[in-house]
Assembly symmetry: none
Homo-oligomer: 126 residues x 4
DNA sequence: GTGGTCTAGACCACA
DNA sequence: GTGGTCTAGACCACA
């Protein structure tokens, strides 16, 4: 099984993204400790090795840093976090555009959609 | 393994959606024949039974109709197709909102995003 | 082989009807659990997939509802059950008519038949 | 495959009944020739041996008689034919009763059914 | 335990 | 060729 529709990606990458989303949303605030590999593996029901790989990726990426014997911590680098936030927003935007493009929606329909988005995201129309 | 990361959905439902997207985008125009179960199974690298299930779902749903011995065809019901288009747009919108919400983006950032979307989707700002 | 004699219908549809008959006759009362897929497959000596298909059909039809991990249950919707009862009666009636029609029975013979039916079905003649 | 619901019976018996129904309805009038084994086998898409067995059954039963080299013919015995007619009517009646019994229909519903039957079978109510 | 999904492969009816 | 049905059997999620 593996098709152009199989949207599964490696589990370790899914964990990488989860950590990023949680950090950006300050569920894991800057400088806070992320769950231990063991705990995360239990939560995710995956093998600890998989979590290890995810944390290695995050560390190489500068998103977390590890203190021997103490655990891993979210970066306190605000620039870094902002970049991540921007990336996530950008990915979401690109995904939306590619999903919507080609549907042949009318401008009226598109404007309705934007209206809804602005309302739900608290962006005042002027 | 079942985690909040596991975004896999049943393959047959992924095929259902693929057909819908292709039809709404008129890659499969109204009334046209969709690939045979065998061909689709080959294309997707899945078992023919899985495709059969997807096609059954689509037929039950009134999205395709089947002529025994001849194949399956996209509905010519314009209302039906419009409803599907609206649904796809709505799903994409909801997904975007849930992805973006909670990132704590500023109004300036959000407006930039809307500007980009409008540009790529050819919606004139006024 | 496909002749006007071949009265076989798909096994899964035969199971669908069996469940309906048993429910209408309250062998499976409203809200009661129907046998598990495995048990029914064993009872019927068919493959579990075939029973699964029958149960899917019944669920789609609103005749049973399924609780994951617990089993499938007969609808408690009385309207639904009454409709089913009426349908079964109607089918039986049509079958009888088509079997009897064209035999060229005399009115006397037909009236004898009705008399027998009324007697066995406890419908008082007046 | 073979369950309590599998209502298939031996093909040769199905052919036996078909011939009887056709004869009683005078599609094959008394004394007329029934199709040759070969023709019937072709019509039914079954093996000639199967038809042979059906015809043997019918002959043993006195329903048809065979003239060497000429074919098989429907009995001209009117008593015999009447008995057959009565049997078919009786079978249909019993089937109807067993289908309807236990459904718990009200007398009103049952009387509606009888009304419909009488109408379709041209039995005047008085 | 329960149902849900999937594969591999067979055989059939229809055209 | 097309879809329809079925078997045998695997593995999974849910409870």
């Amino acid at each position: 099984m593996e098709t152009e529709f199989d949207i599964t990606r490696p589990i370790y990458l899914q964990i990488v993204e989860l950590i990023k989303v949680r950090a950006v949303r300050e569920f894991y605030p800057p400088g806070s400790r992320v769950p231990s590999i063991r705990d995360m593996a239990t939560e995710m029901k995956v093998n600890p090795n998989t979590v290890t790989r995810a944390y290695m990726e995050l560390e190489r990426d500068g998103f977390i840093f590890t203190k021997r014997g103490q655990g891993s911590f979210i970066t306190e680098d605000k620039e870094r976090m902002n970049k991540e936030k921007t990336d996530l927003a950008s990915q979401a935007t690109q995904l939306f555009i590619s999903n919507i493009k080609g549907l042949g929606l009318s401008k009226i329909q598109l404007n309705e959609i934007f209206g809804q988005m602005k309302k739900e995201l608290d962006v005042a129309e002027n």
